[in-house]
């Protein structure tokens, strides 16, 4: 393979945003007909590099060679012309268009739509047979599941005759089974001679699917190795620059009394869609209950109800006392008074006010606290002192209470939120996606804090879409699908495979091939969604 030209070669690519050097002198060769993984922590510069390749950014220095020819890529048009197709992490689809309309958008033939659509329909059928890329061409995007939406993105690229396919964190929104299907499609594409660049921060995916892997750290390409000749531990070290613990160190739980008891909780959102359908669960003191599930199956709503951000029907008791689910006493303030602390899923929108100082942010939710007030006025000096103390304990960098929240990195922002909520020693801690967009070093730290809160005899309810995180952190796991709890397992007695099936809505061993059963469940869910839309 070494005697052929690389499909893509980058030489000395550099890109800076102001003082931040996002890419530093990056050179890489991607051979045709391979799956080339690019792995790195968040903020390592993977997405910037790919955006340069797709014409979103102009590199400050460096050259791009496609199939051995030096190529300028000033915009997406040029990238498409050079045979590059990109599947973004956040899909670029028009939600109320059909699959077909999305595929032809921007690549129509002539001024009228009808001939383009007819031609696309024919081509889609061919692609479907060739690569198992099954989607209904006439379905509307907002009526199909994310797995299918992703296939539409791939189809878009293939329709534009892409030979090089870039996928940016493609599995973040998929169930394990959907991810497996994606991997099969990608292998098939590779076998047909396409070149695939696969960006991820998940080591397992790199090991599963790639032929070659490049590691990025802080804007630099630290290594390119054959996947068969490396190991997850080695890759993790290359990513972080030091040894990391991939598993959480914790003792078996010693659960006490029930702290949180949820009975028959239901939520109907503003569009009239039932997002929670009779959820019942409980969390005991001294244990971590993990809620697993693919994003969008009701976990967010559950957290919002518990955190007092959304109204619901049903019954919730905390330490045996019922709490209000509607009305004046159903808000974040009242919940905190009942000993419930909440680290929300989206720290930038719900956890922090990005334009405010760190010290102001550490007081939110507890700003009525006597120690933060003196008479009618806030006692800012006390808040700042408290912030400085928390920053030191949680190793927030830089430890400057005067800095605005937006100037901290994702990991440090999260530490500020976690510090604010955990340091109150709540009876119940709600945590949503505690390590989303957080670097490995901070992940370890945040996980340790959650475990030590548990060890102090507190109850923790953890929602995460990262199955690894759920399995390593939880004592008990409940799986949500389509607004319902599909089942509960002890973390020590289950595995990814079993949870993966539950996440796809399958409760018992199916009497048909697993994939068919999964497909059926997902279709049923999509149909329910479509019915409400229609």
């Amino acid at each position: 393979m070494s005697d052929t030209e690389p499909a893509i070669e980058l030489r000395g690519i550099s890109k800076a945003f102001g003082p931040v050097q996002a890419n530093k002198d990056i050179s890489i060769k991607v051979m045709p007909g391979t799956i080339h993984g690019i792995i790195g922590e968040n903020g390592a510069g993977k997405s910037t590099l790919m955006s340069i390749l797709y014409g979103f950014y102009k590199a400050d220095a460096g050259e791009i060679f496609i199939g051995g020819t030096k190529t300028q890529i000033p915009d997406s048009q040029a990238a498409i012309a050079a045979g590059i197709g990109m599947v973004f992490q956040h899909f670029k689809l028009v939600e109320n268009f059909t699959v077909l309309e999305n595929v032809v958008l921007g690549a129509e033939e002539g001024n009228l739509l009808r001939p383009s659509l007819a031609k696309a329909r024919k081509l889609l059928k061919e692609l479907e047979e060739e690569y198992e890329l099954r989607v209904d061409p006439d379905a509307r995007i907002d009526e199909i599941g994310v797995g299918r939406q992703q296939r539409v993105e791939i189809l878009k690229a293939l329709y534009r005759r892409a030979d090089i396919l870039i996928l940016d964190e493609p599995t973040g929104v998929l169930t394990p089974t959907e991810a497996d299907q994606l991997f099969r499609i990608l292998s098939r594409l590779r076998d047909e001679g396409k070149t695939i660049i696969f960006i991820t921060h998940k080591l397992r995916e790199i090991m599963d699917i790639t032929d070659t892997v490049s590691v990025m750290r802080r804007g630099e390409m630290t290594a390119t190795v054959k996947t068969s000749e490396t190991s997850p531990t080695e890759l993790a070290e290359l990513m972080v620059g030091r040894k990391v613990l991939l598993r959480v160190d914790k003792q078996p739980a010693t659960p006490g009394d029930v702290v949180l008891d949820v009975e028959n909780l239901s939520v109907i959102n503003s569009q009239g869609v039932e997002r929670l359908r009779g959820v019942s669960l409980n969390v005991r003191a001294g244990e971590i209950l993990g809620i697993a599930g693919v994003a969008g199956n009701g976990q967010s709503e559950l957290l919002e109800v518990l955190g007092g951000m959304r109204e619901a029907t049903g019954r919730i008791t905390v330490n045996g006392e019922e709490i209000d689910l509607t009305g004046r006493h159903s808000d974040g303030q009242s919940r905190r008074e009942r000993g419930i602390a909440h680290v929300p899923e989206d720290r930038q929108r719900e956890g922090l006010i990005m334009e405010f100082h760190a010290w102001e942010n550490t007081a939110f939710g507890y700003h009525h606290d006597p120690e933060f007030n003196s008479g009618l006025l806030m006692n800012n000096a006390a808040i700042k002192e408290d912030t400085a103390r928390k920053m030191e304990k949680f190793d927030v960098r830089p430890p400057d209470p005067q800095l605005t929240a937006k100037n901290f990195s994702g990991g440090n922002q999260q530490k500020i939120v976690v510090a604010r909520e955990i340091e109150r020693s709540p009876d119940l801690l709600l945590v949503g996606q505690p390590t989303r967009g957080v670097d490995i070093g901070a992940i370890e730290f945040i996980h340790q804090q959650i475990v030590s809160l548990r060890d102090a005899g507190k109850a923790v309810l953890l929602v995460s879409v990262e199955l690894d995180e759920i399995l390593s952190l939880s004592d008990r796991v409940a799986v949500m699908f389509d607004g319902k709890i599909m089942g509960e397992r002890l973390a020590s007695e289950t595995d990814e495979k079993e949870l993966g099936l539950l996440m796809a809505g399958i409760t018992e061993a199916p009497d048909k091939p697993v994939e068919e059963a999964v497909e059926e469940q997902l279709q049923a869910r999509d149909a329910r969604k479509a019915q409400i839309h229609g």
């Binding site: 973004f88 690549a107 129509e108 383009s116 878009k156």
Partner: protein, 321 residues
């Protein structure tokens, strides 16, 4: 009420609905591409003034209409520059354009004609004359069909037919052409259009300029077709009513037609019947005059079902990542 009365009310409905319809379709193009345009009112007003003034000076209504459209296009270009190129606030830009037009038209009118901010009355070739369709006279005596054709369908000025023709044309452009697909896409998810290699900026400018042309026609019709000359603030909120109709119509061309006809009918009834005696009490004329505006408020307050606007409406497009 006999057939003739009904036909007369419907006839004036058609005429009163015309400027609303043109402005509504103008807004439809702009908003489908994601650009809010509350400056419809201002563009109509500017166009009404320049159409009347230039028609008066040249003695030719077509030259007048062209000038009207030109002035509206200029204001559209300003709106485009402010809201697309410089990513300003689209509401503020639209508001500023309306205020500018309200002040400038009267000021220039006073300077040019010294008639208290109005243009002299237009006569003859300086106005749009009614067009009698073929066979209108011949068919007139035929019962029912005759009067309908003669009174209601025939005998309007050219811009009325243009306005009604624009409904299927708009529908066809939006849903049957490549340009329409891209235009709708850019109002829903500009990032999808951009990554597909199509210029978001160009598409949005195209939409805003089409809006300018249609708005210009609406204004020109107001001053040189519906009435004979420009008077201060003659649009009287029609731009806003058109926006309400657009929301009522859920941003769809055929629904826009029905919505505008409804508003036209309310205006026509108010013009024809001063005080309506309902037996128990009398509806005063003021109430009838206010009715279209009341309906506008009701619609804008969202009492008429849920209308889903184009998803990216009012949002600037900034390339990211």
């Amino acid at each position: 009420m006999d057939l003739m009365t009904i036909l007369q009310v419907l006839d004036s409905t058609v005429r009163l609905a015309t400027p609303l319809l043109l402005a509504c379709l103008a807004g439809l193009f702009s908003e489908r591409a994601g650009i809010i345009d509350i400056g419809l009112e201002g563009k109509m007003l500017a166009s009404a003034f320049f159409a009347a003034a230039i028609a008066y000076m040249s003695g030719n209504v077509w030259i007048g209409a062209l000038a009207g459209v030109g002035s509206s296009l200029l204001l559209s270009a300003i709106h485009g520059l402010a809201s697309i190129t410089y990513r300003g606030n689209q509401i503020i830009s639209g508001l500023a354009i309306t205020m500018l037009a309200q002040g400038m038209t009267v000021l220039i009118a006073q300077d040019w004609f010294s008639q208290g901010g109005r243009t002299p009355s237009l006569v003859g070739q300086a106005r749009f004359e009614p067009i009698t369709l073929p066979f209108a006279e011949a068919l007139a005596p035929v019962p029912v069909i005759g009067p309908i054709y003669h009174e209601l369908i025939s005998g309007h000025s050219a811009l009325v037919y243009v306005a009604f023709l624009m409904v299927p044309v708009t529908w066809w452009i939006l849903f049957r052409t490549r340009f329409g697909l891209r235009l709708r896409a850019v109002g829903e998810n500009p990032a999808a259009v951009d990554t597909a290699g199509v210029s978001v900026i160009w598409l949005r400018y195209a939409a805003v300029l089409i809006c300018g042309v249609l708005c210009g026609l609406a204004g020109a019709y107001l001053a040189t077709g519906l009435q004979a000359g420009f008077v201060k603030d003659m649009t009287a909120g029609r731009g806003y009513i058109a926006l309400a109709a657009l929301i009522f119509a859920k941003w769809r061309p055929w629904y826009a037609l029905y919505a505008c006809l409804l508003f036209g009918l309310l205006q026509a009834v108010a013009v024809r019947y001063q005080n309506i005696d309902l037996g128990a009490f009398v509806l005063p004329v003021q109430f009838m005059d206010a009715l279209p505006y009341i309906l506008t408020v009701v619609i804008l307050a969202g009492f008429v079902g849920k209308a889903t606007p184009p998803r990216a409406i009012g949002q600037h497009y900034v390339k990211e990542r």
